[in-house]
């Protein structure tokens, strides 16, 4: 059994090496947010500074792009969660005509390459002379997040005991009352997971957005546009802050879930 144990230990080290590899660009991003660089290029370490944190919002275009990204993510998440939860309920709880087609469309929305989705949306907008702006970005973001919300909510609805709702109805609750007080709280974790996923997908998207943005610039688009001239350190700081907030929310979520259990 000795060889077995050595093999396991090797795999253990290997797993940590892969984790280190996956995390290394994050470490670089955080580190170079503190780099006291003098020139435009930010590739060598030149000393520690907090300057970029103090001057975080000193590049107006970058700040606008970040604000655009956050607003677009909030609006598209709200729309996606509303209509996606409805469809998730319909698919998880009801039988109706067109269910098969609906399932196929949801699958198609998940599996269509982003590039094809963006290109086809642009074809539609070009054919219909629709001006591209923040609204077309929101339309696209709702489209690619919708299926993920539907799937997470549906999974939760399927796992929900229907006798709970029947009990509420027997006790005289209205259909709406039953939904508000029984169904919605029970599926809430699924709805919230869908909302977070949808927000994350929206903030992160470059490919689809690049087709439908017109002259509106989002955070990822701004960064790609700045690659040739050099990425300002403020981008590292913003990335670091977003990373920190995301990780805190995730850990808080996990702790809360453990406490509930």
């Amino acid at each position: 059994m000795r060889g077995t144990r050595a093999g396991d230990r090797l795999l253990h080290i290997y797993t940590w090496l892969i984790i280190a590899w996956l995390s290394s660009p994050i470490a670089v991003m955080i580190l170079f947010g503190f780099n006291d660089k003098q020139s435009k290029s930010n590739t060598t370490w030149q000393g520690f500074t907090l300057r970029w944190y103090a001057e975080l919002f000193d590049i107006p275009d970058l700040t606008t792009a970040l604000v655009n990204s956050l607003v677009i993510a909030l609006v598209s998440t709200a729309v996606t969660v509303a209509i996606g939860t409805m469809l998730g309920l319909a698919l998880g709880r009801h039988r109706f005509r067109g269910k098969g087609v609906t399932n196929f469309l949801v699958f198609a929305a998940i599996s269509t390459p982003e590039l094809v989705m963006g290109a086809s949306l642009l074809s539609l907008f070009v054919s219909g002379n629709v001006p591209r702006d923040a609204n077309t970005i929101i339309i696209a973001h709702v489209l690619f997040s919708l299926a993920f919300v539907v799937v997470t909510v549906r999974a939760r609805v399927v796992g929900l005991d229907p006798s709970l709702e029947e009990a509420a109805r027997d006790l005289g609750a209205t259909a709406w009352g039953t939904f508000r007080q029984v169904t919605l709280p029970a599926i809430m974790p699924g709805v919230l997971a869908g909302a977070m996923l949808s927000f994350a997908l929206s903030v992160d998207d470059y490919v689809v957005t690049s087709f439908v943005n017109g002259s509106t610039v989002t955070f990822p688009l701004w960064i790609v546009g700045a690659v040739k001239t050099g990425i300002p350190a403020q981008v590292n700081v913003m990335g670091t802050l977003i990373f920190g907030i995301g990780v805190l929310i995730a850990i808080g979520n996990a702790v809360a879930a453990r406490r509930r259990a």
Partner: protein
């Protein structure tokens, strides 16, 4: 009223998916058959030769994308399987911690992660510059703007999507089944090959699907890490649409890419056996 409920619930999503997923595909099919130019506009002429022209012009980039996507997927499988295996069987009580660490990169934007690699690998940056300073590498050594950088970037960016489905499949394998195989005098290797590996195939299938399609169609890694000689089909489609305003060529290329990927998935599904696919799809 009760009978109408599911239809009312589904209606907004139906409309969204119909207007912004189905109709655009039809619009793109229509655009791909038009002729004209960016200034005077395009008109429908059912010009099927657009496809031949577009594929002829960009066959290099199309094949290169499939090659890069395929190689990156293979690399992810080889790199990721042992990680999924170790976490599933030996992760013990810390499984979720390991999974969380593997998912850390997703808290940083895809574009920013790729740019970080650009930082890290730049010709005189912290990694290569230091090694060159120690005389361990020749002064003209570079990683950026090479095929290796693009495939490496794709592998890096999509790896967690390979590990997770394999982990899920392996996690369901009852360790007693493996013990039974070993009790029946299977060597450790044989038990793995004949018991664990087949049981994990649905996960491998899902992982390959989740990585090959986006890796092949990705324009970001080639744009940020690939320089000028590693252009992939995603970059061409972007340029044709957004810079050259050659909508018919771009649409024809998008459809070709989607068709190739669909055929690829189908052939792959047949090769792996329909049962595995159905099982994977059922999850």
């Amino acid at each position: 009223m009760r009978r109408l409920t599911p239809y009312l619930l589904a209606l907004p999503s139906w409309m969204w998916l119909a207007i912004f997923l189905v109709v655009p595909m039809v619009a793109m099919a229509s655009v791909s058959l038009q002729t004209g130019n960016a200034i005077d506009g395009y008109a429908m002429t059912f010009s099927f030769s657009n496809y031949g022209d577009a594929i002829g012009r960009y066959s290099t980039q199309l094949l290169r994308s499939l090659l890069y996507g395929g190689l990156a997927t293979l690399a992810m499988l080889v790199i990721g399987y042992p990680v999924a295996y170790w976490i599933a069987f030996k992760g013990g009580t810390r499984k979720s911690m390991y999974l969380f660490l593997l998912l850390l990169p997703f808290f940083v934007s895809f574009v920013l992660r790729t740019i970080s690699w650009n930082f890290l690998l730049s010709d005189n940056g912290i990694l290569l510059g230091t090694l060159k300073g120690w005389g361990l590498l020749p002064a003209d050594f570079h990683v950026l703007a090479t095929t290796f950088a693009v495939i490496g970037g794709l592998t890096y960016n999509f790896l967690p999507f390979m590990i997770l489905p394999i982990y899920v499949a392996l996690e369901r394998v009852d360790p007693r089944v493996v013990e039974a195989a070993q009790d029946l005098y299977a060597t450790r290797a044989a038990a793995f090959r004949r018991v664990v590996l087949p049981l994990s195939l649905p996960g491998v299938f899902a992982g390959v699907l989740m990585t090959f399609v986006p890796a092949t169609a990705d324009p970001i890694n080639a744009a940020i890490l690939g320089g000028t000689s590693n252009t992939m089909i995603g970059n061409i489609i972007q340029t044709e649409y957004l810079t050259n305003l050659d909508y018919p060529t771009a649409s024809a290329l998008s459809f070709t890419l989607m068709a190739v990927l669909l055929v690829g998935i189908f052939v792959y599904a047949r090769a792996l056996g329909t049962e595995n696919v159905l099982e994977a799809a059922a999850r």
